[in-house]
């Protein structure tokens, strides 16, 4: 077994970001306690360098490291989503952590290492590398979720940890059974095994394997009924980490889901699409119904992220390249609007007080016009109102589902989307039409240049890709053409 330089080429972006993470740690180890305001920007520089090494990967499928890692257009597309997520998270974290007095080097290193895990997950073409990438990402995120060390943060971290470890157990057992049934766990190899041996699709071991892998991934993307503690974890974690979890983990997990279900389990579409049909419906509906009942905006966004996972699952059920392209587009749109919304939440808080109850937003629209405008834009996009990226994303996914004849699922999706308008607009209504209480909850904004930059970038992304989606959709379709 040898590795060539061509293999190393596939791994260059990951190596660059790992090097950035190690540099961050070394910088802190060499001069502990000094000024470290530059550390997040060191990380962003690493992400930018990695982004420059990525376009070369955009092309037909190449596989390296004995079939462990792909360098194809699909991976490259997801890498760019993850770069956006990583860079925005670091920008948002800077002022936030300094204000909370928790700006330690390991935070930035953990974000970068989790990012590497997410990227490996998108590029993994072997269930072993899927598993290792998943754990690289998850273990870093367990630590990040508990980073504030107070009661809520520790509880969020613990719940996310148990849920995550539990789900990787299911995923692994599924992989072991698939290994027993197919004799390999390379994604292409599983496809070949199922395609060449019709009887395999009926063997209990193979079916149990597919089922357990489905359960494992359902936990990871927080699909109902495997979402139990996700809202708690999202609510208790530091807000910047919540944004990172909701967007990055989701993008990486769905990238792996696309590769596993669209490629490895391609011939079993009849078997798994029925199960995912039910999961998608439950996830959308329960996520939205519970979100309506929330009085805390952060928790509401946690439930809304479950609902969004439901919309994306509709695309997975459809199972065509068209749907896959829609999912990739949605993941990018969701990254921009969600990080933007969480950035707004960070801004209204102050040290030790998050101020994320809905009432805290009363009157803020006129008091801080820029914040009101940004928050309204992100809420419109989440609700799927044109001309925002959120609308185009939902449109692409539902269109692909209709083309495959999933009329009922699409109708339920559109109904859910309409119901979600209620709780997203409630935030806007509270900001503009409710008078501020006599003793104002939010006296000033926790906004620095980096926070403003992140919000503006996210807002521009939501608007730009909402008004001129064409180029991005083409790229996403190309990415899928090389995958399937």
């Amino acid at each position: 077994m040898t590795f060539s330089m061509a293999d190393m080429r596939l791994l260059t972006p990951h190596l660059v970001i790992t090097a950035a993470a190690l540099l961050v740690l070394l910088a802190e180890a060499v001069s502990p306690g000094r000024r470290k305001g530059y550390l997040p920007y060191l990380g962003i520089a690493g992400i930018v360098v990695a982004a420059f090494t990525t376009p070369g990967l955009f092309g037909p499928a190449r596989s390296g490291f004995s079939g462990m890692l792909a360098g194809d257009a699909f991976a490259a597309f997801v890498y760019f989503i993850l770069y956006a997520v990583g860079a925005l998270t670091l920008l948002v974290s800077d002022a936030y952590l300094r204000d909370e007095g928790r700006d330690h080097a390991e935070y930035y290193a953990l974000v970068l290492l989790a990012l590497v895990g997410m990227m490996l997950m998108a590029g993994a073409t072997h269930l072993m590398s899927v598993f290792l990438a998943l754990e690289t990402m998850s273990i870093a995120i367990y630590a990040l979720a508990g980073f504030f060390r107070d009661e809520r943060s520790a509880e969020a971290s613990f719940k996310y940890f148990i849920l995550g470890a539990f789900s990787s157990g299911f995923l692994l057992y599924g992989i072991a059974l698939l290994y027993g049934a197919c004799g390999t766990t390379e994604i292409q190899g599983i496809l070949d095994a199922f395609a060449s041996n019709r009887a395999l699709a009926g063997s209990p071991m193979a079916l149990a394997g597919v089922g357990l892998v489905t359960v494992g991934f359902a936990f990871k993307v927080a699909a109902v009924p495997f979402h139990m503690w996700t809202p708690d974890a999202y609510q208790g974690a530091p807000t910047s980490v919540t944004a990172f979890m909701a967007t990055g983990v989701k993008a990486a997990a769905f990238a792996a889901v696309l590769r596993v279900f669209f490629v490895a389990f391609q011939t079993l579409h009849v078997d798994w699409s029925g199960v995912l049909w039910v999961l998608a419906l439950l996830t959308m509906t329960l996520g939205n119904l519970t979100a309506i009942a929330q009085t805390d905006v952060k928790r509401m966004l946690a439930y809304s992220s479950i609902a969004h996972a439901g919309y994306i699952l509709v695309g997975v059920v459809a199972g065509t390249p068209e749907a896959g392209a829609g999912i990739l587009y949605y993941l990018l749109a969701y990254a921009f609007m969600n990080i933007g919304a969480f950035a707004c939440l960070i801004m209204v808080g102050r040290k030790g007080h998050e101020n994320t109850e809905l009432d805290a937003f009363a009157g803020l629209g006129f008091k801080f016009p820029a914040l009101g405008l940004a928050m309204s834009l992100f809420m419109f996009s989440m609700a799927g109102i044109p001309p925002t990226a959120g609308f185009i994303g939902k449109f692409l996914i539902f269109k692909a589902a209709v083309h495959q004849g999933y009329y009922w699922l699409t109708i339920f999706g559109v109904l859910n989307s309409a119901a979600s308008v209620y709780y997203y607009l409630r935030v806007i209504v509270t900001m503009y039409f409710k008078p501020e209480p006599d003793t104002p909850v939010v006296e000033g904004l926790r906004a620095g240049p980096s926070m403003a930059l992140a919000t503006i970038l996210a807002g521009l992304g939501v608007l730009y890709f909402g008004i001129v989606p064409g180029g991005l959709v083409d790229l996403a379709e190309q990415a899928l053409r090389y995958l399937v």
Partner: protein, 118 residues
């Protein structure tokens, strides 16, 4: 089938016999002059005070966790050492990179003061 396990059974019997034999021999041959100190649960060392059932210092867990991680990473060194010649220069460089990454983590916790007991 099962006869493959006969050597293990013999090993079990030998081990049990040896253990029992030693205990029996010391019980039969040894002189017996009991006093209260000898009959107490802990025969050697100092009297345990204030009782063994107190929580460990949290520092202990920190060091234990760090040890656990570094200890298990060694699992990758053994197969590498066995196949050292076959893996060649690439394997060597690869392992150096792996150890360097661990070393960075070690340097970080060291400078952060995790290893200092006080």
């Amino acid at each position: 089938m099962l006869q493959n396990y006969v050597p293990i059974l013999i090993l079990f019997l030998l081990a049990a016999g040896f253990g029992l034999g030693m205990v029996l021999m010391s019980a039969m041959l040894g002189p017996r002059r009991p006093d209260s100190e000898k009959l107490s649960t802990y025969e050697c060392g100092m009297t345990v005070d204030p009782g063994a059932r107190r929580p460990f210092d949290v520092k202990y867990y920190l060091v234990a966790m760090v040890f656990l991680v570094f200890d298990v990473e060694v699992v990758f060194l053994y197969p590498w050492a066995v196949k050292f010649k076959a893996l060649g220069l690439f394997g060597f460089v690869e392992m150096l990179v792996f150890l360097f990454i661990l070393l960075v983590g070690y340097a970080y916790i060291w400078r952060k003061g995790v290893l200092e007991w006080e």
